[in-house]
């Protein structure tokens, strides 16, 4: 769209509205807020059956036998299927193919699917489940992740030799992946003792991050419809249609083109829909019965039906010079992957490569383990791997600042990375990374007024603990804390990632109109809006229709890793450019410009072809007439490398994003209650595509980090989830959520479309450690576990007498 002209285009009455940088209304927004949007659980066909899943009651058990005859005899039951009925491959998986479609031999977590039923009513299906008899021999659970990682005598979750091993990930025993990183003296074989001698000050710390749930509102649901060609059409709420297709088809024994997927209304994802849930089950039952089959998990089942954020235990040691210059860092992190690999290999890749955060450290040793246990499977969740590590390294930076008597922000600035720095994998940060400036900006933001300066009585809703259990403001201590998070954006480690877009320009009703078709999953993030904005900007046409996402067009990749604005945005932009070139070719063919008139002087705006020199040449309606121009393009990001398995070196990441948080908390130290008073963020997004949606992403990610800081934790005891409901698994309500000031920077990444950076994840990293740091600042407590609970603040009195 570059124009070299200084003259305004002649005859152009209006520019194109609602392009990039504006905040047009979401196409699905009105339906969603009025309750009319059709989510996947709303799908209905007259003759459909209801699917239900029998799940293992044990975390670890041998299956001695399954008897489905009682269930089959129940009137209204159309099919009861077990692993014996899986037509093709018995296992599937996102990264490793290790997860049974239906359990055989063993169950490895409580909630693992063992059998599926289709019946004429959901209640009939549920009762049929009760009539399936499974004979189990209960085995000892493998519930200690650290033991699974480090103890060679730990029982194996997957039998030796039962799965092919991924050597590139040092997979062995219960280790799904082990990734070491060694730099500086550590790469030369120096011991910790030798390196420690280089430092004046040493701090160590052990930290834990609990198992967080994505807590989307729309539970898993889908509808499979058998097709006349022997294939199946699946309508499903997912994050990546083509990776589902790639996993489903082999298990059904069908070619991919006979398994067609269409995105159904997605009620949130946050990583929890990256793995399959009932996709294969619904298709199996539909193909078996010849009828459409619908599954909807209820809330409790949903907690067993998707992966969670890996709980992590971390051990850190940091050494610095007296002036605060970091000398070395060591980190050991154990990530509990649960029964199946899911995204664990990628999580380990992120946690290790970003394990010490955005700091310049000459000597680093990292050991990152992702392990199998018989706990609930863990996989993708917003910011994966980086969220856990960020809580660890930021806690360490505060601890080091305290040890040095330095201001925590000054210590961070002193060691901050910037453009041209290399992270511990040797990868150069070859894009703007103004971390020091961001920290300064966060520090200089106005602070909320101190409670003592407010006229009493202040609004009880602003006091720790909310309305019914507040103090009057006495005994409340304020604390301030900072967090910085470095996040990889887009897929990493050598994956040739791409997205596909098909863009069509034609005249409809006398007006130019654009149709954009991709397979990208709208999961609530607003990609559907951004695709339209890009088409408007690139083609100068306001009327843009976004087609439903399905597998009739090439893969768009996953709606994860903050990648869709970059990847599918890039694909739509590229396809639009191809369409535009053909428009310009048409302009030349028609003799509307002289031969040799450079494309750079042409543009599309307001539905017209505009020459920088001559103004409006022709309207698109007149130019195209009945002709349609359609182009399909794949967009690939630049290649990345694997980390080498012994020293963890390699440029594994596509792009880096950063967010800085400053949290202000009021703590009632007597009752252990925390009120987050302010949670302010500075984030560099490269280019703001949609200001309103960007604010939503940053605020939402900050709130999700607040949840992890103060309340969100799936309680797993002996391999069993103890709080599988939204009454017992607590996420922040509006009463817990403070005002958020957001300072957005736009330093463009030269490698990315429009210079943009994925924005949805980085605030999830930094918000948690900032809040916990603020609570530490207020209480003086070490607080090494996220989430922090009232008892961590109040402590326990020593026993009397």
């Amino acid at each position: 769209m570059a124009s070299t002209s200084t003259r305004a285009p002649v005859g152009l009455s209006s520019v194109t509205r609602d392009g990039i940088g504006a905040s047009p209304r979401r196409p699905d927004g009105t339906l969603k807020v009025t309750g009319e949007f059709a989510y996947s659980s709303d799908m209905w066909m007259e003759d459909m059956l209801w699917g239900a899943t029998l799940r293992s009651p044990h975390p670890h058990a041998e299956i001695l036998g399954i008897d489905v005859s009682g269930a089959l005899r129940l009137p209204g039951v159309y099919a009861v299927l077990t692993h014996e009925d899986v037509p093709g491959e018995k296992r599937y998986g996102l990264e490793y193919r290790d997860q049974p479609v239906l359990a055989f031999g063993k169950v490895r977590y409580k909630g693992e699917p063992v059998a599926i039923v289709a019946a004429d009513h959901p209640e009939t299906a549920r009762r049929a489940l009760e009539r399936i008899k499974v004979d189990y021999r209960v085995l000892e659970p493998v519930s200690d992740a650290r033991r699974a990682a480090l103890d060679p005598d730990c029982p194996l979750v997957h039998e030796e030799g039962s799965l092919p091993l991924h050597e590139e990930h040092n997979q062995r025993g219960n280790r799904v992946r082990y990734q070491p990183i060694r730099t500086g003296a550590f790469a030369d074989g120096a011991s910790v003792e030798e390196v420690r001698a280089l430092a004046d000050v040493v701090v160590t710390g052990e930290y834990e991050v609990g198992m967080q749930d994505q807590a989307f509102l729309g539970p898993e649901s889908g509808l499979a419809v058998p097709a006349e060609d022997g294939g199946v059409d699946l309508y499903i709420a997912t994050q990546w249609l083509h990776v589902d297709q790639r996993q489903i088809a082999p298990c059904l024994g069908l070619p991919a083109d006979k398994v067609r997927l269409t995105l159904a209304g997605v009620g949130g994802a946050f990583g929890a829909r990256e793995d399959l849930s009932m996709q294969i089950h619904a298709c199996m039952l539909a193909l078996h019965t010849g009828k459409p089959v619908k599954f909807v998990y209820n809330r409790e089942e949903s907690f067993f039906g998707h992966v969670h954020r890996h709980p992590a235990t971390m051990r850190y040691e940091h050494g610095a010079k007296r002036d605060g210059t970091l000398v070395y860092a060591t980190m050991e992190i154990v990530l509990d992957g649960g029964a199946y690999a899911s995204a664990t290999p990628a999580v380990v890749g992120v946690a290790s490569s970003l394990g010490i955060g955005p700091y310049e450290v000459p000597h680093v040793s990292v050991d990152a383990y992702g392990v199998y246990t018989t706990n609930p499977p863990c996989g993708a969740m917003r910011g994966f791997g980086a969220v856990q590590a960020c809580f660890g390294y930021e806690s360490q930076m505060d601890r080091l600042a305290a040890e040095l008597g330095m201001d925590p922000v000054d210590l961070r600035i002193k060691n901050a990375v910037s453009q041209g720095s290399r992270i511990i994998t040797g990868q150069e940060i070859d894009m703007p990374m103004p971390m020091a400036e961001m920290l300064r900006r966060a520090r200089e933001m106005p602070l909320p007024p101190d409670r003592s300066s407010l006229p009493a009585p202040s609004d009880p809703r602003t006091l720790p603990g909310g309305v019914a259990n507040t103090s009057h403001g006495e005994g409340i201590v304020r604390g301030i804390g900072y967090g910085v998070g470095l996040k990889n954006l887009c897929f990493s480690e050598g994956f040739d990632d791409y997205s596909t877009a098909r863009v069509r320009l034609e005249v409809v009703g006398g007006e130019p109109a654009v149709t954009v078709h991709t397979a990208a999953a709208e999961v609530g993030q607003g990609l559907v809006t951004v695709k339209g904005q890009i088409a408007r900007t690139e083609l100068g046409v306001e009327r843009v229709t976004i087609l439903p996402s399905d597998t009739r067009v090439g893969s768009a990749g996953s709606s994860s890793a903050s990648r869709q604005s970059y990847m599918t945005g890039g694909a739509v932009k590229t396809a639009c450019e191809a369409v535009r070139e053909r428009v310009f070719a048409l302009v030349r063919e028609r003799g509307l410009v002289e031969d040799g008139h450079p494309d750079a002087l042409l543009s599309l705006s307001g539905g017209k072809v505009v020459s920088a020199a001559e103004g409006v040449l022709i309207s698109l309606a007149d130019l195209l007439g009945g002709e349609a121009i359609e182009e399909t393009r794949e967009y690939h990001h630049r290649p990345t490398q694997m980390l080498d398995p012994s020293r963890g070196q390699g440029s594994s990441h596509t792009q880096f994003g950063m967010c800085v948080h400053r949290a202000v908390v009021d703590v009632d130290v007597e009752l252990g209650l925390v009120k987050v008073v302010a949670l302010d963020a500075v984030q560099d997004v490269g280019k703001v595509m949609h200001p309103q949606q960007l604010a939503g992403q940053i605020q939402g990610a900050s709130a999700q980090g607040l949840g992890l800081a103060l309340m969100e934790e799936i309680q797993v005891h002996d391999g069993v989830i103890r709080n599988p409901s939204f009454t017992d698994y607590l996420i922040p309500t509006i009463l817990d959520t403070p005002p958020m000031r957001i300072d957005v920077l736009e330093h463009p990444d030269p490698h990315a479309p429009y210079g943009l950076r994925g924005a949805g994840e980085p605030p999830t990293l930094s918000s948690t450690p900032a809040i916990v740091a603020a609570v530490r600042n207020a209480t003086g407590r070490p607080l090494t576990h996220a989430p922090v609970r009232p008892e961590d603040i109040v402590g326990i009195d020593p026993p009397q007498g």
Binding site: A468, N469, E670, R722, T733, G795, I796
Partner: protein
């Protein structure tokens, strides 16, 4: 959920007769707890008798200076009642700290008293639980016990009663009016709920078919300055780790009377009689308040996983009393 009959009762006597005659019948009030339990498979009745239309649902003053609360009164209406807010603010505060707005709009006074424990092992029908299946054992020991009892528990059950409202009613010396097959009787609020002992399946002293029709509060002028405080993991819609309902009668710098109950610590709303006795006649200093709290908690027996509760309960009790004393002093 299994099929059941639903009947809307026309009068209390008829409802009581119907339920009392059928061991597989249950009363249905607001349904906020019972419907959950039907779905989870904790209860499996053949018949639900809806009593929401027949129960009184207002607050009326009594000739002796007390008030009578209809058992059908919704929690949000009771919390907002001007008389309650003026004379028994602790009750209003307790109600508002419980559940969510939508649940309070549905939940009734009688039903709130009879809600069952949130013990996660009680709610998981695949686990042993003496309360759900007598004699099967208690899975909570050694498990997830943050919400479990530290006072009055037994080896058979360490569950807690989840109600906030009941804690306030206990502190206020409320009386529960019960309609049974042999007529109306009155049960002291402090006697309504049981300690688990060896029969944790019985939450209350009520018999099958007994229907709570009203709750009465005595005339208690000093309750006009009463307070409910609740410690929980988020600001709304969360159960209490510990809660305190308290009212203090202070004159000439001496505590004449105190009414205190604790929530989240026992199988029933825990009336803190020891603390009350310690405070009677005492000058409210930080030391005496703390001594009273410690006297009450001297018998506390935490289990693995809730060792923090005696400290948190003591702090909450002291903070609540201190608040009340300050309020009295500055009045």
């Amino acid at each position: 959920m299994n099929p059941f009959d639903y009947r809307r009762a026309e009068d209390a006597a008829g409802a009581v007769a119907t339920v009392a005659a059928d061991p597989r019948a249950m009363f249905l009030g607001g349904g906020t707890n019972l419907v959950d339990h039907l779905k989870l498979g904790i209860v499996d009745p053949d018949l639900l008798v809806d009593v929401t239309r027949l129960l009184p649902d207002g607050v009326e003053p009594l000739p002796d200076g007390g008030v009578r609360i209809g058992a059908g009164m919704r929690n949000s209406d009771l919390a907002a009642d001007p008389l309650i807010r003026r004379r028994y603010p602790v009750l209003s505060q307790a109600l508002l700290s419980g559940a969510s707005g939508q649940l309070r709009n549905a939940a009734t006074t009688g039903g709130n008293l009879l809600q069952r424990t949130r013990c996660v092992y009680f709610q998981d029908v695949t686990m042993a639980c003496n309360k759900r299946r007598p004699g099967s054992g208690c899975s909570a020991f050694g498990g997830y016990t943050r919400y479990h009892a530290i006072l009055g528990a037994s080896e058979h059950c360490i569950a807690t009663h989840p109600s906030d409202m009941a804690v306030a009613l206990s502190a206020l010396d409320a009386t529960v009016v019960v309609q049974g097959t042999d007529g109306e009787r009155r049960v002291a609020m402090t006697e309504l709920h049981r300690l688990p002992g060896d029969a944790p399946e019985r939450d209350t002293v009520l018999r099958h078919g007994d229907l709570i029709t009203a709750v009465e509060l005595p005339d208690l002028p000093f309750a006009a300055r009463s307070r409910y405080r609740k410690v929980r993991d988020r600001a709304s819609y969360a159960f209490a780790l510990v809660s305190v309902a308290a009212a203090v009668d202070l004159s000439d710098g001496v505590i004449r009377e105190a009414r205190i109950a604790l929530g989240g610590v026992a199988h029933k709303p825990w009336r803190a009689t020891r603390a009350e006795a310690e405070l009677r006649g005492a000058r409210p200093t930080e030391e005496t308040l703390r001594a009273a709290a410690e006297a009450e908690l001297a018998e506390a027996r935490p289990v693995e996983g809730n060792e923090f509760k005696p400290t948190l309960a003591r702090n909450t009790l002291v903070a609540t009393l201190r608040d009340l004393v300050e309020e009295e002093r500055t009045r």
